[in-house]
Amino acid sequence: MAKQVGMEVGIAAAEAVGLCNIDMAAVYPITPQSHIAEHLSDIVADGRIDAEFVTVESEHTSISCVSGASATGARVYTATSSQGLMYMHEILPIVSAMRLPVVMANANRAISGPINIWNDHSDIMPQRDAGWIVFFAENGQEVVDMTIQSFKIAEDDDVMLPICLNMDGFQLTHTVELIEFPDQKEVNKFLPVRKPFATLHPDHPISMGTLGMPEIYAESRKSQDEALINSKKTIFKVWDEWEKMFGRRYKPVETYLAEDAEILLLTMGSMGETAEIAIDELRKKGMRVGLVKLRLWRPFPFEELKAVVKKAKSLIVTDRAVSFGGPGGPVFAEVKSALYNEKERPLVYNSIIGLGGRDVTVKDFMKLIEDAAKAGKKGIIKDYEYYGVRG
């Protein structure tokens, strides 16, 4: 039977991994990921799971190490954050190009400088084009559910790609939430032992990670792009299966009171729950506002996004990262480009918010939406603005 427990989300992430019969994990500690690493080491040290736990000397090695193990056919896990993810950057596109299933948690944290350990999305955004499947969790329950789902998706023969599950550092990782844990037997049924497509073993020697000359490189990149786009089918299939077994529905784009909304707000990650309260408050004031939450960042859910925003007059995209000298935040740039050729589309505004752990409250969201509504009436559209930032 599934049980509900109050648990810190970082600990819960490790508990979820513990349910997944992993064979190997390699982690290097970094705030705010460290509770995941610590608790997973507890689970292994107490013999609750039979896995190799490799305490590596860097994140560059943790990602390299899990990739090597994945190539042998093992189910592998790693977790990181911020500078650690940046340090992995070189290896990330190799893992996806080699079609190695790896599940990685990223406890979202600002990148240096100035050095800052608190939450925003500036660590994952530079990894956008690494060819990974990228999810954003909104709460502890999603962290647990999507961790388990990720192994099934990553290891599917039609996918064979690494997955990065983003969870906001501190806001999620260090918050105690009420979480329903699926039963071990049910997880075993949902997620059987990995059956790898190809492995590094002397019985069938193969070469992995060979040299691609100009005659083959472009085809290799194209096929990888297709693989990532096609992974959507498996992601949806796995989410359907999850709903049937565990009752919770997952969609690439979630909405809240969006159907009749004139103004829509778009968030990714844990801010979504705060934003819902702001939407409720503004609805009480009679404003027709709604919320769109992106759960799937790569492959980008173009159709699903277009469908939910097309009737709105304006769409305020929040970004928790800066694209210096660019068109606005990275989420805004993606959303705007996705809608550009559409006949029916809202005006798109961008607000950069919640950088480096700056708190974003219900009042902030209300003010943000009300300000955008006023500006919209006056016909003022700025490319992007920093919300509540001095100077």
């Binding site: 305490t55 090695t61 390299s64």
Partner: protein, 325 residues
Amino acid sequence: MSIIENFDLFAPRLIDKKEYFCPGHRACQGCGEALAIRLMCKALGPDTVIANATGCMEVIASFYPTTAWELPWIHLAFENAAAVGSGVEAGLKALRRKGRIPDRDVKTVAIAGDGGTMDIGMQALSGAMERGHDMLFVCFDNEAYMNTGIQRSSGTPMGAATTTSPAGKVIQGQQTWKKNVAEIMVAHNVPYVATASPSYPFDFMNKVKKARKVKGPSYIHCLSVCPTGWRSASEETIKLGRLAVETGMFPLYEVEDGKYKITIEVDELRPIEDYLKRQGRFRHLTPEQTEKIQARVSQEYNKLLDKVHGLHSWSDLEFEWGLFE
């Protein structure tokens, strides 16, 4: 009987006839490294997985859709052969324990050049050795970044001209002494460390076999003559490898459980000039510069002899690797 028939008759008693690193790869003529890898694979046998760093060997042997590797082989990047190898070892260990792969001893071997070992790969190597993976790491040291066009590394010997340590009018060649990675590995308390050269094939293969048997980390530093980068004649590869040993530039020894042993004894070291003069990379050296290098080589060789005579095996202390397992 022709020479080849003789080879067929006698060779199988000495060496595995099967090729695991196959003909058709694109190594330069006289490549000491390709020869060394071929011999290493024969000594390792089929139950081996190779984790290869980016470098000459990856480039010459893995042109997609071809491969020279008859062993399972993986390559990710330049600096992480030891890290990938660590993962391969951990993965195989877990899968074997859990009954998901056949219950047999498969050795993980990570290989890299001097750059991928001594410079950019040093951290991953140190980490892997410290963690005690059941893995052999072999450095094929051709003493510069040959794959990118002969740039200096920390393995380049003093005085050698490379494309980034050129023999200029004011500064002539490499200005630093070669980093001693074998010693760094000894300092990690790795149970088996050796230096080797394909110019002494049986010595090299015996060392690989010994390292393969170690339950834990082991390290072999193999000097790989590179005619392209050393500006030497391709038919002199074997001779140069021997001269490196005979002059004391690259002594062949092993360190087993902390105990040093010279495996190729040299009664009297030849002057280093015999080695240097056959290579274009040392062409510019003045007699004074050669003398300085000679002094250093003699000093290092004496240091090694002190260790050979002075240090005892820790197996006398009944030390067991993996005591807490």
